[in-house]
């Protein structure tokens, strides 16, 4: 069954390339993504938030919910790291003390 993966891969690549041809051109001003909410952000963000940097205004104000999620992800990653490594360290200690006691015997 291993030989099957190559034609499936080629088929998927062809499908992707075909789908890519339907995307709007890069930086096309008439692309759907650029005519929906972007003009509002560009025209109104300074008036709405007094923030000259549109990126900051979108990141922290208009799309604040998204940024809250990102921050939660980072903080959760830190907490998960603590939990995983703390467990490993206490196991190491137990192994070391076991090793020492067998040395003395």
């Amino acid at each position: 069954m291993k030989w099957l993966s190559a034609p499936i891969m080629i088929l998927l690549v062809a499908l992707m390339l075909y789908a890519t041809s339907g995307l709007p051109d890069h930086a096309d001003p008439q692309a759907p993504a650029n005519v929906h909410v972007s003009p509002t952000y560009i025209e109104d963000s300074v008036e709405d938030t007094h923030t000259p940097n549109i990126v900051t205004a979108v990141l922290a104000d208009y799309r604040g919910y998204d940024t809250l999620g990102e921050t939660v992800v980072i903080f959760t990653a830190g907490l998960a790291c603590v939990l995983v490594l703390m467990k490993r360290r206490s196991n190491d200690k137990a192994a070391v003390s076991k090793h020492h006691s067998s040395d003395h015997l």
């Binding site: 000259p52 809250l68 490594l85």
Partner: protein, 146 residues
Amino acid sequence: MIKQRYQSIIVQTICSLLIPFIQLFALYVIFHGHYGPGGGFQGGVLLAVSIILQRLYLGTEVSFQKFPPKLALAFGAIGMLIFGLAGLIPMATGGAFLDYGNLPILWVHGAELRYLGILIVEIGIGLAVFGSLVLIFDNLVGGGGQ
């Protein structure tokens, strides 16, 4: 592995000189996010880098006393709390979630209030990122939990 001080006077001098400037630049990046590239994420990483550099050249034994690992966890949690409250307090005063225009700060209104809300949120992000990265580093080198 990095418990002891790094045995080189050049490294020690350069690091001790660099750290305050890195921290100053981190604060600049956080507070200048309204006008240029930067913001909470980048500034928080720079703040974390200053603490990690201190850990590397002073050794964890001394550095853990100067900046305890538990403090990093506290900073991360306080940052998340600031962001969460910036979202929830406007709901209590009649706005939507994360609607900074309804923050109960009496002497600023409208767009200025949203400007201030963005700053508060950026500080919260900075603290959360700073705490998380220092926390990860401390636990990778060992001894972060104690």
